[in-house]
Symmetry: C2
Subunit: 225 residues, 2 copies
DNA sequence: CATTGTGAACGCCTTCACAGCC
DNA sequence: GGCTGTGAAGGCGTTCACAATG
């Protein structure tokens, strides 16, 4: 068949692709050449049927009786995720979280580059983190405006999050990852995702407080316990 | 009706409850007495039907024609989340991320307490963060074993995550929040949730690389742009 | 008359199970 | 024989729309 036209990939699948990607990377590094859906499922913490259905959305890359070629599949998954090009990540808010993100291994192993760091505290301006100078947010528009394919990361206090978000959008950022506990408004053309420590703790508290209604046991890898 | 018996609450609803909780807290602080589902929806970044359906899982707390009593509903949501009791949070891995988490506002405003901090680096032991001493992971079993209702937070490198996880489980932690990019095995009695910076960036990259298959525009609050 | 609570319809993801292929 | 790809079935959350209510 010619290149698939407008295959839509379910969001849950999209979220699992990075997990497969990491598992495949590990397998590849270990010199493993082939994986079955069952093995990949084990490594990714899901079930085999899900792996096969997920991968079938990308194309027909497996071989019946054998499985998937690790490095070939890895390449396909990375291409699908858009990791065959480089992404520029700009981080706003250089508190402990911003430092942690700037030094993340993600920048070493994936096609993401820390491109610019910002803060509003004059005391932090000029400090160097991960080889990059911390700039004042005033410079954000100027600096980020010249960067293409930039992803903004908000690591500021919640009170400043919408302002930071507006500056990022204004500067042409194509996607935003928000770590601040705030609901942000963005134009539909900008992708937005949320990571919230407090929400996660509360969800855990809920399930511990309601042992009778545990969610799906979540296909876990073999526990050695 | 008598106390609801074993109402099961859908996981997506559970994840939204903390968001409603925060919105209600803000409204309450501002002195607002009543909210409609539409207003709460706006504040939480979802749609009104979802708010009503979600809240209906907790009980019949609204008044037709009027809406919901803010402080009453806040109390119900907090009780449902298990926030009417105090939770002890232990953090393992005191790099920048661990520092950020230990100093999180969550501990100031919710019923979570930072109870103990651990690292494996001798150079960090004894350092004081957020009023707590950093201890060596060797002490984890001893220290955490004596804490009830403890939630473990893994902020270590991925390579150490499963070991840390095992120690936490061994020590009787009831839930674990994992920030390391690793798939963890835990017994079914322990709640586990995952937060992964790298996965989030990759998901954003996917959607930017595939503008034609954007996910649901996600009911956003009124954009001022 | 504004707003809730909810049954029903809808859409979507997951799981199953097996035909087809190596 | 082992394993993939997938149609079909099943399950579940979201959305709709309206009767009920203060």
């Amino acid at each position: 068949m010619a290149d698939r036209v407008v295959r839509r990939i379910p969001e849950p699948t999209v979220v699992r692709l990075p997990v497969y990607q990491r598992a495949l990377l590990t397998l590849s590094t270990c010199g493993v050449q082939t994986v079955s859906s069952a093995e990949l499922a084990e490594a990714a913490g899901v079930n085999a049927a899900k792996v096969r259905k997920d991968l079938s959305h990308l194309g027909t890359y497996g071989t019946p009786g054998t499985g998937y070629d690790v490095s070939f599949l890895l390449g396909q998954v990375r291409r699908e995720l858009g990791l065959d090009r480089e992404w520029q990540v700009v981080i706003v808010g250089m508190g402990n979280l911003g430092h942690a993100l700037a030094r993340s291994q993600t920048f070493a192993t994936q096609n993401f580059r820390a491109a610019a760091l910002f803060d509003i505290d004059p005391g932090k301006i000029g400090e160097e983190v991960a080889g990059l100078p911390v700039r004042h947010v005033c410079e954000l528009a100027k600096v980020v405006g010249g960067i293409s394919r930039s992803i903004g990361v908000i690591a500021s206090p919640a009170s400043a999050a919408q302002d930071v978000c507006n500056r990022l959008v204004e500067a042409g950022t194509v996607a935003i990852l928000n770590f601040a506990p705030a609901i942000l408004a963005v134009p539909p053309s900008v992708q937005l995702r949320q990571v919230d420590f407090s929400v996660e703790l509360q969800v855990l508290a809920f399930y511990v407080a309601h042992p009778e209604v545990t969610p799906e046991p979540q296909d876990a890898p073999l526990s050695g316990l």
